[in-house]
Structures are given as structure tokens and as C-alpha cells.
Subunit: 153 residues, 2 copies
């Protein structure tokens, strides 16, 4: 089960460039954030398949832990300067607003991380589809909330 | 902190095609596993940067949780039929041995997952570099053990 991060710790983690990592190029930042979203998407698909078919608590919990682990990893650091538009073959669907509307970014990011942590906590105890249905719905909504604001179609 | 998976649960999760997910195409499987490795690599880099520079227990623990979450997500399902070689522009460095030497695959996979879980557990309690140095070294070795056997240079 993931630890619930405090708002203060979260804000710190989301401050682009704040993470003391080996510096990634803008291209690498775009590719790495896309890798994170792709991997979360695969795990969302697995949870959905469990809700549509046979339910494996172990698989759903593992998928939820992967999503929460990625969500809490400080992906804000992957939106550094120069990552706001395509770089050659490295394409991004991010809208410019993500780099200017910090208040809204914080809001959707906090909503997403809270929903991901809640999903991981609920899934760790779940025995049936009914137990995770609501948490999964909220998590999906939190994904869409960011896509709607900050991702081009 | 991640739950430690049992060997039985792990073997199940690693059985390619066993995961009841929405079916991914072979191309999607290759891209999704690469996404997982890329995202783990970024988090390994962050932990390394913390060991080389200023140490943030919060960041190291978050990075370790992301790695453990991905490691436990059942990536064996991303090595399905047809994913053993390049598919058009979708390139893979996997060696054919990964699809035939199940015993060695199990060994390196178990070693990696145990090392990732250990790193997450150690990082959750860590206060200094010294506390995570050994666990991080072991985790790096478990990555290399698989690369050596199953990844082309």
C-alpha cells in the first residue's frame, strides 16, 4: 500500500525541475512522462478487464500499486523548459496552459494522486468487483480531468 | 511500502498471457514493457543522484515505490507470442532465450522483484545514504542479471 503524500510534499515533488535527478534532456523528459502514462494506461486496462470479467484481487491490487507508484514519483519534473512542444520526432500533446496555469495543474495533480492512492488502498483490501468500482471510477475521472484541461485531442 | 509477493503469485503473474487484461497487440506489448523499463530507469537515476548528491528520503522512497510497483505489475504478460523480434519500426533488444529458458527467466525475475521490494522497504525507513546503499546496489545487480542473459547489447 502506498503512503499518502502530504500536500506540501506533493507540491514539492510537482515543482518542475525541483527533483535532484540526473538531468534529462527535454526529449527524454517528454518520452519518460509518456512512458509513465503508457504504463499506467496498461494497468488501468487490466483493472477494467477485471471489472468486466473474472476478478483477481491480486492482479487488481498489483495494477493499482503500479499506478500509485508512478503517480507519486514526481512527474512534474518531466515538464521542464522546452518540453511544451514537439521536438523533431518526439511529439507531445501537452497544451501550453500546463506551463502557465499552475493553480489548475496543482488541482488536477493533487486530485489524481489522491485518487491513485485511494485506489491502491481500496484494492489492497478488496475481495470483489463491488469493492473497487467506486475508487476506480474516481481514478478514471481524475485522469480525464487532466486530459480535458491539458491534453490536445 | 510494497507487499512482498509470494513465489506462487509471482510465477502466476509472470506467465506470459496469463494476465486477464484487454489484449494488447504484440507491438503494444513491446512498447508497454519498454515504457515500464524506461520509467524504472528514470527512477533508478533519481536514486543514484540522491546517493551522489543531496539525499531526500521522500524522493528516494517515492522512486523506490514506483520501481517496486512496476516490478510487481506482471510484466511477463508483455512477452507474449510475436514479441520476440522487431515488428516494423517497433524494435526490441530481447534475446530469443527469454522465450525458451523459463527457468532462468523465473530466476532473474524473482531476483529483481525481491530486490525491488527490498529497496522499497528499506527506503521507506531510510534517513541517510548509508541506509539505502546496499539495497540499491543489489537492485542494480538484479537489473544487470537480466540484461546480461536476455538483452542484446
Amino acid at each position: 500500500m502506498q503512503k499518502v503524500v502530504s500536500l506540501a510534499a506533493l507540491t514539492l515533488a510537482l515543482a518542475a525541475g525541483h527533483v535532484a535527478a540526473e538531468p534529462l534532456t527535454p526529449e527524454e523528459q517528454i518520452l519518460t512522462r509518456q512512458a509513465g502514462y503508457s504504463f499506467m494506461s496498461w494497468n488501468m486496462g487490466k483493472i477494467k478487464a477485471n471489472l468486466d470479467g473474472e476478478f483477481s484481487p491480486t492482479q487488481v491490487s498489483a495494477a493499482a500499486n503500479a499506478i500509485a507508484g508512478i503517480a507519486n514519483s514526481g512527474m512534474g519534473a518531466l515538464y521542464g523548459p522546452g518540453t511544451d512542444k514537439d521536438i523533431g520526432d518526439v511529439k507531445t500533446r501537452v497544451k501550453p496552459e500546463l506551463f502557465t496555469n499552475q493553480e489548475k495543474v496543482g488541482e488536477v495533480a493533487v486530485g489524481f494522486i489522491e485518487a491513485a492512492n485511494n485506489m491502491a488502498e481500496v484494492a489492497a483490501m478488496a475481495e470483489s468487483k463491488e469493492d473497487v468500482q467506486e475508487a476506480f471510477g474516481k481514478l478514471g475521472e481524475s485522469c480525464k480531468a487532466c486530459h480535458k484541461e491539458f491534453r490536445k485531442d
